[in-house]
């Protein structure tokens, strides 16, 4: 069995990555290879990284309020690169409940809001991968 490769990204103008680092660490401890790119990534940068790193999951943490714009943009670009069918896209951070249906309609498979334990997210990833890890 190969390790799951996850990109943990911080899209947009948002200077807080404590949460992203906690998640990255939890993914690591769950045996995943975590590519961490640091703050202030554009959707284009995130998609290029996802492709070059051949990740299974793009996991975005966003606290700035721009999620309705940035997250669907990543999905759109992944589709343009014909990579969306292989990559699970999830989001997390400060995202109001009423925005979640819109995000899901736009290709974000799941949204994890504050209070979610890391084990829930890890379990979700393990059961929703689009590529086999055997």
């Amino acid at each position: 069995m190969r390790p799951i490769r996850v990109l943990v990204a911080k899209p947009g103008l948002d200077g807080h990555d404590r949460g992203a680092k906690v998640i990255a660490r939890a993914f690591r401890d769950a045996g995943m290879e975590v590519i961490y790119t640091g703050l202030r990534q554009t959707p284009e940068q995130i998609v290029q990284t996802a492709i070059q790193e051949d990740v299974d999951v793009v996991s975005m943490s966003i606290l700035s309020g721009a999620h309705n714009h940035l997250l669907p943009k990543v999905v759109k670009l992944l589709k343009e690169e014909e990579a969306y069918d292989d990559i699970l896209v999830i989001g997390g951070g400060v995202i109001p409940d009423e925005d979640i249906p819109y995000l899901k309609e736009n290709g974000i498979a799941e949204v994890f809001t504050p209070g979610t334990t890391t084990t829930v997210t890890i379990e979700y990833i393990k059961t929703h991968l689009k590529k086999s890890i055997d």
């Binding site: 190969r2 390790p3 490769r5 990255a24 660490r25 993914f27 690591r28 401890d29 769950a30 045996g31 995943m32 290879e33 975590v34 590519i35 961490y36 790119t37 640091g38 990534q41 554009t42 284009e44 940068q45 290029q48 990284t49 492709i51 070059q52 790193e53 051949d54 690169e81 014909e82 990579a83």
Partner: protein
């Protein structure tokens, strides 16, 4: 074999997928490697090594930007350690290379060591070949932060750049065996920090011990953060490259590299055999008998070795 076709046409996704297949040793990867090897064009491999936090990623970022000004295509393999406990890894070298992300002439791949000990990952060789066939003129291999003996990079790179920083220890560190012996080019990074001149002096003194250099490793003072000294460093790397071309040293290096790759593959195959055979009942019983000293580990290892040979 569609992926290989894509790779040769410069398709980014094909390149990425193939590296994964090789890294994971997925079915058919060996044939893929054979096919790719035929299509390599001898990209120049530059190894960047040094202790954790020395500035390897930042320096790589700056060097690659300089090379990109010449229009050459560049591949970067950035290696970070895999946890021996969870098998997970945080691959964070891209943080320092954000600007290169959108450059279509640059391909960056992060790899975990996955239990490999020499400062590289198991599939580094393979990834280099994929990037070479993809069309990279230069390939940078950034090792994990090294301690004193992770020297595999010399076997892999055409030019090894040893990145040092001030304040890591006294001059005795500089004359110890191991990583300090492998630099073709030395860098004192963070040269604006206190003690940088002393570090430079210590490296120079260490190099002066040897008198009969054919190519004495140049030492550059660099501040990777603001880019000062990077031009000079690149010139040193190119000088080393030129020297190796002129002396045919490069050829013997490639031969050496092929040799060590062959050895490693055979090693791995035998290791797999050992793992298989250890789970056989007869072998298990023999191993159990070492507990009561009815047998000793030496006799058992001989028996197992002969058994593997006989199985062939």
């Amino acid at each position: 074999m569609d992926l290989i076709k894509g790779l040769l046409q410069g398709n980014k996704r094909a390149c990425a997928r193939l590296i994964s297949i090789i890294e994971n040793e997925q079915e058919g990867y060996f044939d893929i490697l054979k096919e790719i090897h035929k299509n390599t064009k001898n990209a120049y491999v530059i190894g960047i090594t040094g202790p954790p936090g020395a500035g390897k990623s930042t320096l790589t970022d700056k060097l690659v930007k300089k090379i990109r000004e010449q229009g050459k295509r560049v591949g970067i393999i950035a290696i970070d350690p895999t946890s021996p406990f969870s098998k997970g890894a945080i691959l964070g070298d891209r943080i320092r290379m954000s600007d290169l992300n959108l450059d279509p002439g640059v391909f960056i791949r992060s790899m975990g060591t996955r239990g490999y000990l020499g400062g590289l990952s198991k599939a580094t060789y393979g990834a280099i070949k994929v990037m070479d066939a993809y069309g990279c003129d230069y390939i940078f291999v950034e090792t994990v932060g090294v301690g004193q003996s992770e020297v595999d990079i010399v076997k892999t790179a055409d030019t090894t750049v040893m990145v040092m920083v001030p304040g890591l220890g006294d001059d005795i560190q500089a004359i110890k065996a191991g990583v300090m012996e492998i630099g073709d080019v030395f860098v004192v990074n963070k040269a604006d920090k206190e003690g940088a001149k002393r570090t430079l002096l210590e490296i120079e003194m260490m190099l002066d011990f040897k008198k009969d250099w054919d190519f004495r490793p140049p030492v550059s003072m660099v501040v990777a953060n603001d880019g000062s000294g990077v031009d000079e460093l690149l010139q040193s790397i190119m000088a080393h490259r030129k020297y190796q071309h002129e002396t045919e040293l490069l050829k013997s290096k490639v031969l050496q590299r092929n040799k060590s790759e062959i050895k490693e593959i055979i090693h791995r195959k035998i290791e797999r055999e050992i793992q298989n055979i250890q789970s056989e009942k007869e072998v298990e019983d023999m191993i159990m008998k070492t507990l009561s000293k009815e047998l000793d580990p030496y006799t058992v290892s001989e028996k197992i070795f002969n058994k593997i040979i006989d199985n062939r």
